[in-house]
Subunit: 152 residues, 2 copies
DNA sequence: TATTGTTATACTCTATAACTATA
DNA sequence: TATAGTTATAGAGTATAACAATA
């Protein structure tokens, strides 16, 4: 212990809400940890894994990837460069607009993306502790929390 | 296309679980977005805000900060350097062990940390959509999910 | 003129390894 | 010898600004 600095619990938020926020913080930390770990198993960074996952179904214009990842388009250039060097992604022209380049997963890229999804333990480990009805409840609560109108 | 049968070791996950995982992904994204935004309002990076929040109550040894943030100790040096330059953090000797340096928030650092907590809308905005009983339910579900034994 | 992707630049975060000063 | 913190280094992500090709 050190200085006796009393910290004021800022805005008036009830203890229950604070507890839920803290729990969500724990979930967020756990989620990220597992995601980075799964990516690392394939020698990918988190950003690379996210981009690969994003384009693994259909080719996506560079600009659109940036919007989805909420970052500047110039960053995507580098990330796709590294994925392309590894043979997981390739750039294709867009027949409709010659300014656009589509980032598309190669066969190996799709395989890696699939394995990546599979190795995400988050579905099994923590969620496995809940029964089906509990998972349904959790789903509806999260949906309501995120703005979707769900009857509970 | 891999013709071998070992294509996907991914476990058969039911649609409900997948939906919950996806929802959690959305929560994680929203949480991060808000956190970075709150940090940016104080011209801090996410890592800086996390460190500042961590030491805002009591001084913490550099090594311990690294453990909490799950990163290498050498990284903390730089982050604390930048916080120190801004006058938000100071390094203090540990009377008990002269090898140890304690990172401690200054008065301004504590004020910033408090404002940071206050500007985290995550408590108000999404959680505000839930009633108190729903929040209680969510809390218990998250607790169970995270391993704490709770009777539901 | 506006948009797409890229390049160049600078900063931060990250891990690794080597160093110092203590223990 | 072992530990705490630092330095040096390199790679990656990020934002900004300027650029070429295309619309």
């Amino acid at each position: 212990m050190a200085t006796t600095s009393r910290t004021t619990p800022s805005p008036i938020v009830d203890p229950l809400t604070l507890e839920v926020v803290e729990l969500i913080g724990t979930v967020v930390a756990r989620y990220h940890e597992e995601y980075e770990q799964a990516a690392a198993q394939h020698a990918l960074t988190g950003a690379q894994a996210r981009v690969l996952g994003l384009i693994s179904m259909d080719p996506v214009p560079m600009r659109k990837i940036a919007r989805k990842l909420k970052c500047e388009p110039s960053n995507i250039t580098g990330i796709v460069d590294r994925l392309e060097t590894r043979g997981l992604v390739e750039r294709r022209p867009d027949p409709a607009d010659r300014r656009v380049k589509l980032a598309a997963a190669t066969d190996e890229g799709r395989r890696t993306a699939r394995e990546l999804r599979g190795s995400l333990d988050f579905a099994r480990e923590p969620l496995g502790r809940l029964s089906e009805s509990e998972r349904t409840l959790l789903r509806d609560l999260l949906k309501r929390m995120l703005g979707e109108d769900v009857e509970l």
